[in-house]
Subunit: 285 residues, 2 copies
């Protein structure tokens, strides 16, 4: 069994960036700059924001976070994001999701596609949907691909089951997997137990983005499956865990990503990679 | 076995439009107008264009087709579509696909989302991807849903297998099916025979959009499956046929759509429905 730990992938991404970071900093006249925008008081958002800032700084770039109260108006929110989109000293923007539908729309309207590091604008979503290169795809979905690539898990011709249909993880991941020639099944909260079991029992690769602590046990999977756990939950005993019952499942897997220690570090590294890409495009390097 | 014929569905859509057509014509001061844009000399395009015009006229609306040579420049093509997008006397535009990537981009840039009857602009694709109401989804994908609804084939909690991953049929259909609580598997040309067989053998609903004459035989499907055939092909004997070997498969099905006589009539009816919707929104009816 190979444990797919995220740190090694993150380190590789850091090295790749380091190769041309100096040239980009020289051309920009400063470090690439990330702006994170958060609404409300959700602790998970705050924690992700802190990790992202730490990662950007560790990668030799700079980052800041602005928080807004959850009763901010559509107009003020859009205007703030528009201002950051126009700000010459900001290269990339991450608006933490989920957001209430109205504020999500305001963010999408205000955000420049060139700085849209998490692929939430219409143009980036449309590119992803059509399998076109050149845009930004949501970081968590991209991180799954990076993790699989790093550990040599090929997707071509494989049966991939994704559990979760959100526009932030499940659906973007389905599009990326289709572009990589996987046959893709998307299961979700309305998938019956019999269909879920049938699909999982034949899956070569399973990606869970459900938010249910340790729900996936060994009875669901086939011997030799590859599992990427996108969940971040707190178990009944109060410990951080994923959607997969890691200890119970791991011996049956060919590869599996733990939580914590798995996808999270790759997601923030992909965010930094997208920031660096936005900065490079800006200076033409 | 229920044969899902398209004409009855098309007639129902016509009746629904007829209920408020007079009011819309009165408010517009003319009939709703469809513009079809075709590039090149593909006979399938010409044939679809003729059917669409005939259908729009039969539904009490008006339609025209403009053909361009396949060597038209990016700029001229975009400019033409932009002009039609601005034309007060045009309510909806259909650009026939597939197109070369460059011309597709020109079309997407020039086309107003409000007249984008086949859901090819970024905004409409992004809405579809996020499962939002209010935009236009590609007509063929919508037609599959209309056909299933009309004949009472429920998608909630069902396992749906879509064969084909194009941005015009397979992927949009996957999004619509997910919005309707189906568990969705997308197979395609790179899906191995073993995975294809396994998926199809458990599928409650199968939608084929492959373009391979009569490739789907009875050995693939389970007793009582529902099949929607989106293919339009010419068999070795020169007859028009779908992706499904209809005669061989039909007795094993609960419901199946024939080719010809199935989805085609629904697709042009959905196009007219979208045209009518665009005209209604324009006049606020």
């Amino acid at each position: 069994m190979i444990e797919m730990r995220g740190k090694a992938v993150s380190d590789r991404i850091k090295e790749d960036i380091a190769e041309s970071l100096d040239a980009v900093i020289k051309a920009l006249g400063r470090k690439p700059r990330l702006e994170i925008i958060r609404v409300g008081t959700n602790e998970a958002d705050a924690s992700y924001g802190r990790s992202a800032i730490k990662k950007a700084e560790a990668f030799g770039m700079s980052a800041g976070l602005t928080s807004f109260p959850s009763d901010i108006s559509y107009e003020s929110f859009e205007e703030h994001i528009r201002k950051k989109s126009r700000d010459e000293d900001v290269d990339g923007i991450l608006v933490l999701r989920p957001l209430p539908p109205e504020l999500l729309e305001a963010a999408e309207r205000g955000l420049s596609p060139d700085k849209d590091l998490d692929g939430m604008t219409d143009i980036n979503m449309s590119r992803l949907f059509q399998g076109q290169e050149g845009g930004f795809a949501p970081c968590t979905a991209m991180a799954v691909m990076r993790l699989l690539d790093f550990y040599g898990a090929d997707t071509h011709g494989k049966h991939v089951v994704i559990i979760g249909r959100s526009p932030v993880v499940g659906k973007p991941l389905a599009m990326l997997m289709l572009s990589r020639d996987a046959t893709v099944t998307v299961c979700h909260s309305k998938t019956g137990e019999d269909i879920l079991r049938e699909q999982l029992s034949s899956a070569d690769i399973i990606c869970t983005a459900v938010g249910k602590a340790e729900f996936l046990g060994p009875e669901y999977i086939k011997e030799g499956a590859v599992i990427v756990d996108c969940g971040i939950n707190v178990s009944e005993e109060g410990k951080l865990c994923g959607d997969v019952d890691y200890e119970a499942v791991k011996e049956k897997c060919l590869m599996i990503s733990p939580v914590p220690g798995g996808l999270g570090a790759v997601t923030t590294a992909v965010l930094c990679e997208n920031l660096f890409k936005a900065a490079r495009i800006k200076v033409g390097k």
